[in-house]
């Protein structure tokens, strides 16, 4: 057999795409094209061009006051009137004629540093623009990838902290593989003088910014940008591509979608993809492209998995997936049964009430407070936090005739449990309540005092002495604590 003398097959993984050295695909062909610019979460359509073009971009800087969350306003500095700035999409090799317009109402001069630019300051030095003026410069997009742009006017950190960032996608010459949905999400951290959700117009807090102590961490510039009616949408079976940027100024994002796994992650917005990723880092001043197919309906939650940012600073979005269930992939809840660990609940309210009982000082409100804490840990799993019970399964306590009619029966029920049919408010329930005799007399007294004085119930309190008497005069079922 003769040895093969054919040239080695090109391997994109080892040779790469050639970077900027192979990015000059010749001069622009045809008439100049106006770039389609979109506001988040929308993304411009693929360019579908086969040859380099001259692309004209007009981006207008505006300083605007808008809600950062409900009832809280902030003065954002923006590329295009919103945070993040408008999405720019060009093709590798394109010549981009860039116009930066600073609106006459602006107080500040601004410029733009596009990370897609090969040249000093990414264009910053050429676009420094006073209010009511316009600058122009031109660059050739030599490197493909997803790039952040931002304002770089002194003080840079403050211009970025006020929302001056966006994304520019430089498509590979052949374009990105087609998908069903593309969305644009950009994270940013914000620093306000007032606390999280403190109402009113909140000024920028320089000290918090220096300390990197963010008040808000947000997707797309406001807490409501991607939730409720503004949630992203997709249909079962579709493939979703997210262009994710992180403006910073300070924080690195641990981007994660609860209930999904990224099929592909173009790490840091570059050319090659990693597969089967749970959480991906998006650097401040960096970007990432993720793709995933959605197989089942439901709401996937987009978070920065530095998780306090998600639930306490606003870094939370939603992707609502509609379509038919597929129980083979995800069953939904199959079993919902009671599990009671051997948990003894102790809370400050209980301690206070117990101490005061010993001192003979206990007040009804203290006993109710103690009972509320115990109820939450012991009873609310079945009877629900609002005492409504669960229809046809667990009887209600709120406005319950069964509970309120007979105090001794109520104590017996808590101590010894209850099995078999009971009628509550005219409805029959047939379930099992385990004995709660592991609770001491004080605790049972507090719980009953609480439930008899909550959710519209009005009754007298139950005392530890009354519980003690019932404990002494009735028998516990087998296995229960004495």
């Amino acid at each position: 057999m003769a040895a093969c003398t054919c040239p080695a097959k090109k391997n994109a993984d080892t040779e790469g795409t050639g970077g900027s050295a192979k990015g000059d695909l010749g001069g622009p062909k045809g008439k100049p094209v106006d770039a389609e610019l979109t506001y988040a979460p929308l993304v411009p359509r693929p360019t579908k061009r086969k040859a380099p073009a001259r692309v004209v971009v007009h981006l207008e800087v505006r300083e605007v006051t808008k809600p950062i969350t409900a009832g809280v306003d902030y003065t954002f500095w923006t590329f295009g009137g919103h945070v993040p700035g408008r999405f720019i999409r060009v093709r590798q090799g394109d010549t981009v004629e860039f116009h930066l317009q600073n609106h006459p109402s602006s107080k500040m001069p601004h410029n733009i540093d596009l990370h897609a630019v090969t040249g000093p300051g990414g264009g910053a030095a050429s676009t420094f623009t006073a209010p009511g003026h316009e600058s122009q410069f031109t660059f050739k997009a030599l490197n493909q990838g997803l790039f952040v742009y931002h304002c770089a006017t002194a003080p840079v950190g403050m211009h970025i902290a006020n929302g001056m960032y966006g994304l520019i996608l430089v498509e590979p010459p052949q374009g990105l593989p087609p998908v069903d949905r593309e969305y644009y999400i950009m994270q940013g951290d914000f620093y306000t003088v007032g606390k999280y959700r403190e109402k009113g117009l909140q000024p920028f807090d320089m000290q918090k910014a220096i300390e990197e102590n963010a008040t808000y961490v947000l997707f797309n510039g406001s807490e409501g940008a991607l939730v409720g009616d503004n949630a992203l949408t997709a249909k079962v079976g579709e493939t979703v591509r997210l262009f994710i940027g992180n403006g910073g100024p300070n924080l690195v994002s641990s981007f994660h979608v609860i209930g999904e796994i990224f099929d592909k992650v173009y790490t840091e917005g570059g050319t090659h993809f990693q597969e089967n990723v749970q959480t991906t880092l998006v650097p401040a001043g960096g970007a990432t492209i993720v793709e995933f197919k959605v197989e089942v309906p439901g709401t996937a939650i987009l978070v920065d998995h530095s998780i306090f940012r998600a639930f306490n600073k606003g870094a939370l979005g939603m992707l609502k997936v509609e379509g038919p269930e597929d129980k083979k992939i995800y069953s939904g809840k199959e079993v919902d049964s009671v599990y009671l660990g051997d948990k003894a609940v102790r809370s400050p309210a209980v301690a206070t009430a117990t101490r005061e009982v010993k001192q003979g000082l206990v007040s009804l409100p203290d006993r109710i407070a103690a009972g509320k804490a115990l109820f939450a840990g012991t009873c609310s799993t079945c009877h629900q936090p609002t005492g409504q019970g669960l229809p046809n399964v667990f009887p209600p306590l709120a406005k319950s005739d069964y509970l309120m009619k007979d105090k001794t029966r109520a104590i017996v029920t808590v101590l010894n449990g209850l099995s078999g049919p009971v009628t509550v408010n005219g409805k029959e329930y047939n379930s099992v309540m385990p004995p709660m005799s592991q609770l001491n007399d004080d605790e049972i007294a507090y719980i009953l005092t609480y439930v008899m004085n909550a959710w519209g119930n009005k009754g007298e309190g139950v005392t530890a002495a009354e519980v003690k008497k019932v404990r002494e005069t009735t028998a516990r079922p087998p296995g229960a604590a004495s």
Binding site: V64, K107, F128, T129, G132, T153, P155, M206
Partner: protein, 226 residues
């Protein structure tokens, strides 16, 4: 004041006079009436851009968008300079303006006072109001000078000095200070954001530029008797 470069830790400033208030529309109108070549109809495009005094009702009349006691805006550096010369004065130098402006209401130098700094920064971070206040409506500082903060930006004589420098002060890369360097790399008092913003604002200007939030006041040397 903010040193012009890391090598200049202190700057010596001779005593000087500074206007108590920014120049008003009414005062500038008087100048335009005496020196018609500075009216918006006559000014050459070399000395003022197309928005020069565009908020006035007419070439020599103020109208509802330019009240008499509001600070004059939409004026170029050339026009501001000519006005001050007409008055026998000059524009303040950046050093002088910054020296006066670092005074808080109670102290010669409020820059280390975090509360004062946040107060000044508060104005910088708010968008321009639809109507400017009258001169004198702002804070009176230690020197008895009004409105250095909180009303309008102000021209200075050497407005392009700090970032866009003709000479090569850093002894190295002249471009280094131009966009973000001065605010980030070579600065000592990094918390003094208002200074950065003024420097950035001034260096975004050309002498013919006019904007709706940029006015001026005049200064003069104190003549020493020999």
């Amino acid at each position: 004041m903010y040193p012009a470069s890391p090598r200049e830790k202190t700057v010596r400033i001779e005593s000087f006079y500074l206007d108590r208030y920014p120049v008003t529309n009414a005062e500038f109108l008087a100048f335009v009436q005496k020196r018609p070549k500075w009216s918006r109809d006559n000014v050459t495009s070399l000395f003022a851009d197309t928005k020069y005094l565009s908020h006035w009702a007419g070439s020599t009349s103020l109208g509802p968008n330019a009240l008499a006691k509001q600070p004059v805006t939409y004026v170029s550096w050339f026009a501001a300079n000519a006005y001050c010369e007409w008055k026998g004065a000059r524009l303040p130098r950046e050093d002088e303006w910054e020296y006066a402006a670092q005074a808080s209401t109670k102290s010669v130098n409020g820059r280390a006072d975090a509360a004062w700094r946040q107060r000044v920064l508060g104005w910088y971070t708010k968008p321009n109001p639809p109507q400017l206040g009258n001169v004198g409506s702002g804070l009176r500082n230690y020197w008895g000078v009004y409105d250095l903060h909180g009303l309008v930006w102000e021209w200075v004589l050497d407005f392009n000095r700090s970032l866009v420098s003709g000479e090569n002060r850093e002894g190295g890369d002249e471009e280094r200070d131009r966009f973000c360097g001065a605010g980030a790399l070579s600065a000592d008092e990094k918390e003094d954001y208002p200074s950065f913003m003024r420097i950035a604002f001034r260096s975004s200007l050309k002498a013919s530029y006019t904007t709706g939030n940029l006015g001026f006041r005049c200064a003069a040397n104190i003549k020493e008797t020999p």
